[in-house]
Structure formats: C-alpha cells, structure tokens
Symmetry: C2
C-alpha cells in the first residue's frame, strides 16, 4: 500500500465505442443523434461487442455487467438488466448500475477494480452511454448544440503475470453546492412524468448553468488536482496522457489552469461534443486506437459531472 491506497492490479483488456447514426450541424461542427430506428441499447451493444472482441473474450467469460450511465433507459429495471437482456439472456451474469452522472465510467473503474482485487469478480464489462437528445431544450442553445448520443465500453480484468497494468490512485469528491447547476429536475420520483404540464415542461429538459459550473470548478478544481497529484506521489510530467471528460469547449481554458498544456490531454469536443457518460471512455478508446496511449503508459482519467462530482483516477495502461 502507498498513499493510503492499495494498488489495484487490473487491466483495461479491451475497448469499443459506437456513435449515433444521425447528424446535425451547428456552426460547422457535427453532433450525433439517434435516428428513428436506433436506441441507446443498440449503440451500447455495438460498443460492448467491440470491447469483448478487442479483449478476445466472449460474453460467457464476463463475471459482471456494469452500466455506468448518467440517465435511466427505463425508470425500472436498471440499465444493466436491459443490456443483459440483449447480450446475456440465459446467462447468470449479474447486472448492476453505477451512477455519478458524467464521470460514471471513472467511478465504475474505481469501484470494480476493488471488487476484482477483492476476489469478488474476475472480468467485468463496463458500459457507458446516454441519449442526451431525449431531453435537450431547443431554447437553451449552449447545451442543445453541445451534446451527442453515443456509447462506449471496456473489459476490465485482472492483470496477468508479467504485465504491469494497474490503478495507482483514485479520488472522487462531490461538491453539492453545484447540485442544481446541471440537472433534469423532472422525470424522477420528485417530479414524475405525470406531473408535466405546459407550464413546467422545461423542468423536464436538461438544464446547464455553464458559467456557475465554471466558477465552482475554478474555485475548487485546482486545489483538488494538486492534492491528488501530491497524494499519488506523481508529477504532471510522468503522465503520458490526460483523458478529461469532454465537457465543453471550456476544456482548453480549464486544463491549462490545472497545469496541463494543450499537448498533454486529448480534446475531441469539436468532433463529438459532449457524449455525457460516454465522453471519457470514447476519448480513451480513440487515444488507444490512435496510438496516443501504449501499454505501460501512465494515464490520468479526470472530469467533473453533475452533482457536482469530480473524479481523478491514475492508471498504468
């Protein structure tokens, strides 16, 4: 154990991603939205099959299916049960949702790595993805033109003999001063679908207060990152690539303020916009596919999510 945490000998054994087939263009940039015949289940299944193929395993080899998504597909059952129905029907594999909104994928790696090193599971399939387009408000240009629909998946497994993949350090915080700066107020138990009227219809749309979020992040994020780096005993220079949540174009303002210059992190906001929970794994998958990350590299996954929750996870790929 170092820095108060046990290093977790786990490995991202395979990854996959799938972006929605519909295209809309705003100011020269494309955003991807589900077409009429498509659902998030289709994209999640495509991403998961690519991840399984990349890892060289089959669904039967998976010990747990985890959906790390920000929003529910149905109010009941959990998303992972619906994925299970598509991909694992007839198998006994447990299905579970882990949700910290946009950074759910990082939280799921954090959590499931402990279950793997604790001997509870051997191989875990983690799926992220959201249908942002289901709740975008056409009158809120800032968010309406930002989001895309997509999914991404990874296979997390024990690190084999002679391999050095591991999670070295992770931290998560929630600053609920920002709980209502990013939200969909309606649609849950507090304001069910039945309560929607013409007057409160906008409460059922996604609502983002960009300036307030930036202000809260500006106040808290630099200290958080410094603390994490110090606790992890690592310098910025040792990190091969930072994969931040692709929150918005403000990424190129925030990252330098956190001490990360433009060539140290991946930024695909202009390509995809914000893919909600799929943002981090989609960017991570692209970075691996493009050779920006190689086995043995130190990779930092980080981001802010509605909550406001912030995640920092350092892994050796």
């Amino acid at each position: 154990m170092e820095n108060g945490q046990i290093k977790r000998r786990v490995k991202l054994a395979g990854m996959g991603r799938a972006i929605a087939g519909g295209k809309v263009v705003f100011g020269g940039e494309t955003r991807y939205r589900l077409t009429a015949g498509e659902t998030l289940l289709d994209l999640a299944m495509e991403a998961a099959n690519l991840a399984l193929g990349d890892a060289g395993i089959h669904m039967e080899d998976v010990d747990c299916i985890v959906c790390a998504m920000a929003t529910p597909l149905q109010a009941i059952p959990c998303n992972a049960a619906l994925i299970h129905e598509r991909m694992a029907k007839g198998l006994d594999i447990p299905a579970m949702d882990i949700n910290t909104t946009c950074t759910s994928f990082i939280s799921a790696l954090d959590v499931m790595s402990c279950m793997i090193t604790g001997g509870r599971y051997g191989t875990v399939l983690v799926l992220a993805g959201d249908t942002a387009s289901a709740a975008l408000n056409p009158d809120q240009k800032e968010s309406y033109e930002l989001f895309s629909d997509g999914a991404a998946a990874c296979v997390l497994t024990k690190t084999g003999p002679g391999e050095d993949s591991e999670i070295l350090y992770s931290r998560q915080c929630t600053w609920s001063e920002g709980a209502h700066d990013t939200q969909i107020r309606g649609g849950g138990g507090l304001m069910p679908a039945f309560s929607m009227t013409e007057e409160n219809r906008t409460d059922y749309y996604f609502d983002m207060k960009g300036i307030k979020i930036l202000r809260l992040c500006g106040k808290k994020l630099p200290g958080f990152v410094e603390e994490c780096l110090a606790e992890a005993g690592i310098t910025r220079e040792e990190i091969g690539l930072v994969v931040p949540h692709q929150a918005s174009k403000a990424l190129d303002i925030i990252m330098p303020r956190l001490g990360f210059s433009g060539d140290t992190y991946i930024n695909r906001v202009s390509t995809y916009g914000n893919l909600v929970s799929a943002s981090v794994p989609n960017a991570l998958c692209e970075a691996v596919q493009e050779g920006m990350i190689r086995r043995g590299d130190l990779v930092l996954l980080m981001g802010t999510a509605a909550g406001l929750t912030v995640n920092f996870l350092l892994l050796r790929y």
Copy 2:
C-alpha cells in the same frame, strides 16, 4: 480466502429507518405514502441521521455516500448528490448511486465492502428508499395495494480489533428472461416524459406480472440458494435469521420452498407492504432493534429484484 472469496472484515455499525407519514388502508392492512409536504429526501435524511447516531458518528466521519435506490429522484444528477446537498453540503464526501432495483441495498453492501477492505474508503453511509407511490397504477390492484414509501440507511465500516463482524459470502445473478416482468417502461431515455400521451399513459406506471415472476423464481431460485449455501459452506441451521426482500405475501409460499421455515426469517409484509429498495434494510433494522439479531449472529440477506436480479449475502452481524 475461502469459497473463492476473500472474507470482508466490515461491520454494520449503525442503522436507521423512516416510513412515510400518510396512511391508506386496504383490506385491513396499512400502507404508507408520502404526504403532500413530504419527499423521499426527508425520509432518507431522517433514516441516515438515525443510522449515524446509532453508529455514534457524524457526517464528517463518512468517506462515501451511496444511494442504493431503485428509482431516480431526478433524471440528473444521481440521488446521492441530492442527499449530499441536504446532509453534507460544503464537505468533499463523494456521492454515488448503485442500483439493482429492489436489492440495491444488498448489492451496495457487497460492492462497498470490497472498497473498504481494499483500503479505498473507511466508513460508508448507504441509503435506500423509493417513492413507490409516484408511479403506482390504481387499475393494477395487486401492486397498487402492495407498496409503501419509506427509507432506511446504514453505516458500513471496518471491523475493529476484537470484533468478528464480516461478510462471509455474496452472490448476485441476473436472469433477464424476466426483464419486463417488473418494470416502469416510460420515464427514461427509451420513452421520455415528453412522449406520454393519453393512450400510452399506463406505460409510465409500475407494472408487475406477479404470476410470471413467481414462475421464474420457482424455476431458478431453489437451485441458486442451494449453490450459494454449498459455496459458502454453510447449513440453514447455522443461520440466525434470514432477512428476505419483503416482496409480497408470496413470501410465506416461497421461503418454505427454499427450505426456510416460518420462524427462520422475518416477514413484515402485512405491516409495511413492499418498500422497494428500503424493504431489506428496514426489515434488518427492525430485526436488530427487536433483538432478533445480536452481534456475532449469522444473517442472510436475500431477495429478488426487477431485472430479474437475485442477491444472496451472508454476514456475521
């Protein structure tokens, strides 16, 4: 390590529960529903404060807040962030949701015990609870007269020196043949609130196919329980008390078929009905308060959930 699992030296250090203030009576039995001025956040906070008090700790001592609820309070952010806003605003404590529908509490113990023994967190506050009444269909008598609104919470922490509390064994399976036997089809990304019409309104209500669930459970559950007992290396006689999910009156039909006679498990269905995710922790809390469970006793938490997911977790209290 025994039975392929590392024993987890964790302890239920404190518990609390809170039932909704409104009462409705069906056939002589009371069900509890939120009153106009009450929300699930109020109940969850009350249960959590009781659990913290029972454990003799304060919110500042908690390292992670986990909501183990079946349904969202808002579509975004996650439930735990909204609890955090009520109970931990200004603190850095991470907030996260873990969801396997009705057995979310058991899954959360399973997951967080691995994070605690992995050194990731020391003390975790787990909250369960749902507003069943937000989506009950008055035309489906079987479910309309079954559910109550309520919350329950527990503090999970490391077992101290000289104490013998532990989780000995846990298993979870999902049988997605039953994915649509218990569901709320609408309200998520697949069928957003905006899509509700007079014609499809019932899709936004809770829908339970009791007979189909019983048939699937009858087929799969006995074998599952036998396997778990064998893997855990335990006999029914060694278990002090079984705390099953309080699914319905069929409990007294199912439990004997699983080899558990009437005095070996707690059944409070006639008192509360089904409290969704709060059912198991509420019954567990009552059992402890009434002296049915003492320190050192073996306790089996088990149940079925929408998915269809089934959980089995054996702990020494």
